[in-house]
């Protein structure tokens, strides 16, 4: 007995194991830290630096101060892309979360074939964005061509096309998170509510949802940032088309922020700094929105 107890988890507390870990934590930390520096911190810092420069190649730059930022803010296509993205984010945030929650709720009722449905709904998430964009553009055009039009011809179609695509791709993923949340709600509480005479809706609103606020926090955060960062699907589905030419500017009506940044980067052959400045603004924006949203939903979370 005693011998057995000694071999239990207590062994991990043995100084023989703990001391090297304590002393060598740097050893374990360094590879990841180095990768983080090389792959994130350095490019990030250099990116911020380059946004203040006029450059074509990252090794040949000249300092221009804030002029890139001024140009970025004066650019109407950037403003258009921002509002378009914001609208897209709101609509897709609502639709994806409502539908994902509904599906998750339905699939935790113990209906037959639950596992099959969960798998099927999750699968679109495994396909890459570019591929998905092209597949959906074929589907949409297959339907729209019967009516003598195309997703590239009408910005309303482009918008809803993107929404449908994003819902199709993301609902499954959010569903999994909601299912986990639903399953974590204590049966005891639901049973108590039932005994107290609460209806299905009442216990959903007052017991289930408040108890799974962390899931909502995560899902709204993910859908919001995903919408703002959307690039592949936008590129593959519409690539910003149709365009409007007005006042010496080309507005790409279905162009979202990320695509606008990439296009700005490659449009100007002598100064890519404007695109870079837009990217920095974009980072600040997404970070700010993400943080505000996190704070807002966190405050609604309840401690069990």
């Amino acid at each position: 007995m005693t011998r057995k107890r000694k071999n239990d988890g207590a062994a991990l507390n043995s100084p023989l194991i703990r001391r090297p870990i304590k002393h060598c934590f740097a050893l374990f930390l360094l590879p990841t830290f180095a990768a983080f520096c090389i792959g994130f911190l350095y490019p990030f810092a250099k990116g911020i630096f380059l946004s203040f420069c006029k450059f074509k190649l990252t090794k040949d730059w000249t300092w221009v101060g804030f002029s890139n930022y001024v140009k970025a803010f004066q650019d109407n296509s950037f403003a258009h892309a921002f509002w378009y993205t914001a609208l897209f984010a709101v609509v897709s945030l609502l639709l994806i979360n409502i539908l994902a929650f509904a599906v998750a709720y339905a699939l935790t009722r113990g209906i037959r074939g639950t596992n099959l449905f969960r798998t099927v709904f999750f699968m679109p998430n495994l396909i890459g964005g570019i591929v998905l964009g092209y597949i959906w553009s074929m589907i949409f055009d297959g339907i729209l061509s019967r009516y003598g039009t195309s997703i590239l011809l009408n910005s309303t179609y482009g918008f809803w096309g993107l929404i449908i695509l994003m819902c199709w791709q993301q609902i499954g993923y959010m569903m999994i998170i909601y299912i986990a949340g639903l399953q974590a709600v204590s049966e005891d509480m639901l049973e108590a509510a039932k005994i107290d005479g609460a209806s299905g809706w009442k216990s959903l609103w007052h017991i289930t949802i408040p108890n799974m606020m962390p899931s909502f926090t995560i899902c709204t955060f993910l859908t919001l940032t995903n919408s703002f960062k959307l690039f592949d699907q936008n590129l593959a589905l519409t690539n910003g088309r149709p365009f409007i030419q007005s006042g010496g500017e080309t507005i790409k009506t279905t162009e979202m922020l990320a695509l606008n940044i990439v296009n700005a980067f490659y449009a100007n052959n002598t100064n890519r700094g404007v695109g870079q400045a837009k990217a920095v603004i974009f980072f600040i924006l997404v970070a700010a929105i993400g943080l505000i949203q996190l704070r807002a939903t966190r405050s609604r979370e309840v401690q069990q």
Binding site: A26, A34, K56, G148, S150, L152, Q245, T250, N271
Partner: protein, 442 residues
Amino acid sequence: MKKTIALLLALCLCLCLFAGCGNNKTESNGSTETSSASGSVYYLNFKPEADQAWQDLAAKYTEETGVPVKVVTAASGTYEDTLAAEMDKSAAPTLFQAGNQGAINSWGDYCLDLTDTAFANELTTDDFNLYGEDGALLSVGYCYECFGIIVNKALLEQAGHSLDEITNFETLKAVADDIHARAGELGFDAFSSAGLESSSSWRFSGHLANMPLFYEFRDNDVTSQPAEIEGKYLDNYKAIWDLYTTDSATTGAALTTATGDASEAEFGQGEAVFYQNGSWEYDSLVNDAEKGFMMNPDDLAMIPIYCGVDGEENAGLCSGTENCWAVNKTASEEDIQATLDFLYWVVTSDEGTTMMAEQFGPCPFKNAKEPENVFFAQANEMIADGKYTVTWAFNFTPAVEDWRAGVVDALTQYTAGTGDWDAVKTAFVDGWATQYAAENAG
């Protein structure tokens, strides 16, 4: 003590990591050292269809001389982006393409002055070269191409017409209208589909758009990139575009997603008499067993793109090039020398000239081989007959990709019936000024 050991170990690990990352670099340094006498060549190729030929030629050169030649081909339509990314690397391309004014504007600072280099001295003409403001030879046109309307003569005869009938826009339209009207009975239509999907749209936003640009520039004596254009021949552009999209099996919104392959197949399989494309199509139309187009070269002809401009009876084919070599002046001296040697070999050796003639047609070098491509024979015939060559005016296009994207979008709207021709004009004329301003903004 232990702390020091831990630290040392950590440092070791880091070094390993860096060594892992930097591995490629050390290797390539090693290889340059072994052949330091001759340097190495890195060619960023622009034509995906010629990739294999370049790879084979490079391997042959390395076998003969021991000089490593790396050929990388950018995916279709991404040359600018790839070039920018590659030029940023420490092992940047030593040889790249700068084939139009836009490329010279943005890459001129990186182009070596090729005047009096051994391979440039092999040139027979300087018509296709691009020069900097100070007269430096920045890039060398290594082949030229021609485009127009490719005709299937056999089908044309079957429909009761002949090439001699077609001398201008009216006669072209008469023949095309007739064939289109009888398409059901004949089993083929006049024009192959004028698809506006990206694999096909360049034929119209680039090559067809050359017609209004060429005539406008000819009238105005434009010899360098203009900041603005008038679009005074856009009605002619509309006329020919309307013809393409009316006398064809595919019309209207269906053209939005019609591809280049589809159009090529319609022509290659004898479903259409006319197909707007260039000399580079010759090989795939005649020899492509894979796609099943084994057309008889004697059935093929290329006629000028007629669009109703006065005096166009005397027009020849559109001849010019975007295929120009530039040598990276920031590369090391050995690499520059190796690149120049390689180019000299390509344009003088038997293997090189054979490949060039097969892949690129006629090349303006003393030792160039005669290509078997019938389209060039026709281009030369027309020049011999005293017809004027339509030069590649579109080489002046500012921010080529963006300008073309705007034109394609407007053209698509117009063709599908959701937009009007004025939008095409706006994209064409205002778009030019916009892109010129954007490209030249500080």
